[in-house]
């Protein structure tokens, strides 16, 4: 036992001493959504692998090292994990927290006071937009629910739903987006026939489905596919309570097709923050993801890749692994002007930056241009089943 401890201590010290660029990556490895988290973590690793395979960081090709920690979707764990990442591992920046609650807590409690930049892969709560007081340290690579809820309401209108029932899982992500959706939809003249929370992870949602099913043929479902969403959808289909389904990216997963069957999902449409499949940036991302066996269109997986890639670009542009002033570089590499860089084009980007040029990263999940609050604009696609698989199409 003692030897193991000594050896681990030695490895720990060794890793921090080598010439590496460290990015802290607190992910929801345990907690309520480990299944949703797993492909996102794989995408983060994939980005680092791409970067290291194409020359690494800076002129001398230092390794980009992702230090993973467990934020468990839980403010307590996130604060503890990020404290260690920043103080013990000495990371340059944080790419990570999956859940909004964990992302806000770690930023307010640790990262902002320490002056460390956070780029969240999937925190979508509208509260993040207004959380900072004068600092410029919290960014996210996923669009705020404030945008996606509106996009979804427009989609419901475009599909000709004049009335709709809303069921949302009672967690930070789904409750937030449902609220935005309800406001936007009513503002557009639609009728919300029922608006009920459901407890995640219940064995059965038949009574919930039946109660709100009597009011409308259409269901707006806000849930994670992994913690009750699939069950609720299955109950709704089994009882025939609803005909049409719409929902946000928490439900969009190949797992849904596998578990429920594509033939049962023909009337379902889910939005996600992504470019449509015809853009070159999505094609580039899909090629990389398919080759590595990462599910390209699962929720926030492309965002995970983009966030890691952008953070590495920002550090590369800064020219050192210091924490100061990183946010300016992040803004610079993510938006115009500059040469357009697609997912996976690390060597190209590195060459341009080395020559003192400007770049503009366009990611698999959207163009990733940050506004003054560090949010990315809403650019959404709707996904429907075509030939047994999800097919995305941009909505305007």
């Amino acid at each position: 036992m003692k030897n193991v401890l000594m050896a681990t201590a030695a490895t720990l010290l060794a890793t921090s001493a080598m010439a590496e660029v460290n990015i802290g990556n607190p992910m929801a490895m345990t907690g309520p959504i480990p299944d949703l988290n797993a492909p996102i973590a794989a995408a983060v690793d994939l980005a680092a692998a791409n970067i290291n395979a194409q020359g690494g960081m800076f002129a001398d090709g230092e390794t980009l090292n992702i230090i993973r920690a467990d934020s468990a979707c839980d403010p307590v764990a996130a604060v503890d994990a990020v404290t260690k990442l920043i103080n013990v591992n000495g990371v340059t920046a944080i790419v990570g927290p999956v859940c909004s609650g964990a992302a806000i807590a770690q930023a307010e409690s640790v990262a902002i006071p320490a002056g460390v930049l956070t780029l969240s892969v999937s925190a979508s709560s509208p509260a993040i937009t207004t959380m900072e007081d004068g600092t410029d340290l919290v960014f996210r690579a996923a669009a705020s629910d404030a945008y996606q809820g509106v996009a979804l309401a427009e989609l419901a209108m475009a599909n000709g739903f004049t009335d709709i029932a809303v069921s949302y899982a009672n967690d930070d992500y789904n409750a937030a987006i449902a609220e935005v959706f309800v406001q936007a939809y009513e503002g557009m003249g639609g009728t919300i026939t029922a608006n009920e929370a459901h407890e995640p992870n219940k064995a059965s949602y038949r009574s919930e489905v039946a109660t709100i099913g009597a009011t409308s043929e259409n269901l707006a479902l806000f849930s994670y596919y992994g913690s009750g969403g699939i069950t609720l959808m299955r109950n709704a289909l089994e009882t025939g309570a609803f005909t049409n389904f719409i929902g946000a990216d928490g439900m969009l997963s190949d797992e849904l097709i596998e578990q429920i069957g594509a033939e049962n999902l023909m009337t379902s449409t889910f939005t996600t923050s992504a470019s449509d499949a015809s853009t070159p940036s999505f094609a580039a991302w899909k090629a990389i993801a398919d080759e590595a066996g990462v599910p390209a269109s699962d929720p926030f997986v492309a965002n995970g890749y983009d966030a890691t890639f952008m953070m590495a670009l920002a550090i590369e542009a800064a020219g050192n692994d210091g924490r100061e002033g990183l946010s300016e570089h992040l803004r610079a590499i993510a938006s115009a002007p500059g040469e357009v860089i697609l997912p996976g084009q690390w060597a190209e980007a590195k060459a341009i930056l080395a020559a003192g040029g400007d770049i503009n990263y366009e990611g698999g999940a959207g163009n990733q241009d940050f506004d003054e609050n560090g949010d990315v604009a809403g650019n959404f696609s709707k996904s429907v089943i075509v030939d047994g698989a999800w097919a995305a199409e941009l909505i305007q």
Partner: protein
Amino acid sequence: MEAYVGYFLYFLSLLTVGGIYAIFALGLNVNWGFAGLFNVGIVGFAAVGAYTYALLTTAESTYHIGGLGLPLPFGMFAAMMTSAVIAGFIGLICIRLRADYLAIATIGIAEIIKLILKNETEITNGPRGINKIPRAWEHFSEERFYTSWPMSWFGTPENWEAFFDTLPNWYWQPLFAGTILLVMYVIYRMLERARTSPWGRMMTAIRENEPAARAAGKDVTRRRIEAFIIGAAIMGLAGSLFAQHLRLIEPTNTFDPSKVTFLVWVMLIVGGSGNNRGAMLGAFLIWTLWSASELFITGAIDLIGNIFSTLDPSILQTRAGFLRMMLIGILMQVILQRYPGGILPEVRPASPKADKNIAGTTGESK
């Protein structure tokens, strides 16, 4: 040099969180160690304390009610009181239940408290939680504090801004940790006094032999409710410190029974139930193990990956968090079996003569 500052700050964070858990453990020690009340609803009292504090001290917000922006000590005091009042209600109806039943009842009540916090969205902002909770000492550098009385009395906002710019950005961290340790110490001193007082000895008597205590004319139910309320008030205070440390609280994951209730129980059992010093020692020890084990487990998995290069460590890495939980569980089983009294077993207070003065000051009669 910067690395040492980092290690120092991590050490401070261990003291901070360990101190908060130590206060929880002291509260539980009043319930369990003193009075033998099997309270498994710690998380409920923690949540009540944290939410009371958050609603009273945050700035006005459209997301939740309250946002009164009251002074921090007032918020902490109110957290204690709310927790105590709720414990009083629970105590009145549940206290006569036998240990296992009380455990099941408190665990159920804690879940109901969490459900209310989660579903009454108008009051608590529901599952999205409350953020921007002011943290002691750090809050002075927030604009709404230095522009208002009493800080505005000492200097203009510009002066204050200039002053805070001269401090390192972690200036509040040692002060916050120190405050928590001070609160912990004060509670410890008070509990030590209570323990050696006639009240404390009566508690021991009730716990060890209830019929005898009853026969001796003690009001057993009343004493138990008292212990329950005092313990809960201390947990409410710890909850408010927890909210300050996290700066965001939400009902589901922040107040996860396996991470609050269970961890505090492990701390008390490991440290030694009935012994206040043991409770604190257990809290710091287990929290340090819990927090630092993440560093070691990740390192160990990397090591395994390096030694057996054919093995893919990524699966183990994704599951390291679960491994940590399992090790803590096993540690608890070992302690329970090998050291049933904990690291610092309970020491019975000496005979009444030894602490005559204390008995006199508390004014407790037989």
